[in-house]
């Protein structure tokens, strides 16, 4: 008895803005990247539904990471804002964005981060926000520091904020990292450089934004997010 045909595709055979699972310079991919082709579900089997996040209303302090403790955290206060859109440019309202980050000294509150930099009793580094009717989101936090890791000799991660985005379909889930403009660590970071297309890589870098920068208060950075859905390809010029 023969099986109905189903398309299988090697990770590297697909045009995609996303990194390959196997990116050997990022050492942790070597034993975790799948080595068999992926099954391409036919259009008729796609699930257009996606999770509606229901965890009660969010608190204002969920999106202001500088006001989650009795005192204020140390570091440069920043505002991160942007618009969440789909691949056709439409804003995505009501989508949950979760963020987590190191403190200004480059230390995560996570118990497995034990490198010698101080924790800040006034900073946890986790937040969440829902995009508004126009797909916009806004966080207040402090600029995270760079930190060392053990991927290779003298390895340092460029400063970054992790973002987790739900989008509208389960297949639109996006977890990414937002970087800061002009970081000298970019060229040596295998995670940043796992995105092979330079134009796509640049989209991971936030832009300093005078409009968001608030006098006597905080620097502003703009980070627009596009959830591309399946087989999203780099935009053709």
């Amino acid at each position: 008895m023969s099986r109905p045909a189903i398309e299988r595709v090697g990770d590297g055979e697909r045009a995609s803005v996303h990194p390959l699972y196997l990116s050997p310079e990022y050492r942790s991919t070597r034993l975790r990247a799948p080595d068999r082709p992926l099954v391409l579900l036919p259009e008729s089997m796609h699930d257009p539904t996606g999770p509606v996040y229901s965890d009660g209303p969010l608190a204002e302090t969920d999106s202001d990471l500088t006001r989650q403790h009795d005192g204020e955290p140390l570091g440069e206060r920043i505002i991160v804002t942007g618009t969440l859109r789909d691949a056709s440019g439409r804003p995505v309202p009501g989508s949950l964005i979760e963020i987590w980050q190191a403190n200004a000294a480059g230390r995560y509150i996570h118990q497995r981060d034990q490198h010698p930099a101080p924790l800040d009793p006034n900073f946890t580094g986790a937040g969440r926000v829902l995009t508004d009717a126009d797909g916009r989101y806004r966080f207040t936090t402090v600029k995270p520091g760079a930190y060392p890791w053990r991927n290779h000799a003298n390895a340092w991660r460029p400063a970054h904020i992790h973002l987790s985005v739900f989008g509208r379909a389960f297949t639109e889930r996006l977890v990414t990292q937002m970087y800061f403009p002009g970081d000298p660590l970019f060229s040596a970071d295998p995670i940043f450089n796992s995105v092979r297309d330079p134009a796509a890589r640049d989209r991971l870098i936030s832009q300093f934004d005078w409009e968001t920068t608030t006098e006597e208060w905080a620097l502003g950075f703009r980070f627009d997010i596009v959830v591309g859905g399946r087989d999203a390809t780099p935009s053709e010029a």
């Binding site: 990194p19 229901s54 987590w100 992790h162 389960f170 977890v175 995670i191 995105v195």
Partner: protein
């Protein structure tokens, strides 16, 4: 339209330190564990050397017992523990066709999520499922949970001879 020209934001790894950001609120019980039809779904995430992946997070998305998403039902998240184990309390999805749960896996070392499906054993309707029908017998077995002590167990092998069948995202 200028807006339409924007390219997608690339994926990056969830990294090793996501727990305090993503797993601080419990999202692994989709139903009351005391419910008569509550289903315990559990398993391990294992790397290419068979070692447990202790810094992974799995998310599920599924229909409810009637085959729909009433009251926003259907999403869950579980981090893995020191032995690579995740656990959910949910229900078997209802509706027409073979019941299945969609799963996404995130971890340090995964630069983008992996997607797979969990099917249930001893379901006559599995024979008519278009995905299962197109897979080899070994692949089918890999996507089918195993009944174990009143729970359903579904292990995820990221790499190697026993690699779980993953679906392109």
């Amino acid at each position: 339209m200028a807006a339409a020209a924007a390219g997608a934001t690339p994926s990056q790894t969830v990294g090793p330190f996501f727990g305090f950001g993503l797993c601080i609120r419990p999202h692994h019980e989709l139903v009351d564990p005391g419910r008569a039809d509550a289903l315990r779904l559990k398993g391990c995430v294992l790397d290419g050397a068979g070692e447990p992946v202790f810094d992974a997070m799995v998310e599920i998305w599924q229909a409810d017992a009637q085959g729909g998403h009433r009251d926003g039902f259907g999403w869950g998240r579980s981090g893995t523990d020191g032995d690579g184990r995740y656990a959910f309390v949910t229900v078997k999805p209802g509706g027409d066709g073979a019941p299945f749960i969609t799963m996404l896996i995130f971890a340090r070392g995964l630069l983008k999520p992996l997607m797979t499906r969990i099917y249930f054993p001893d379901e006559p309707v599995n024979a008519s499922d278009p995905l299962l029908a197109a897979l080899t017998e070994d692949e089918r077995a890999g996507l089918t949970a195993v009944a174990e002590n009143g729970a359903m167990r579904f292990d995820i092998h990221l790499q190697g001879d026993r690699q779980t069948t993953f679906l392109a995202l």
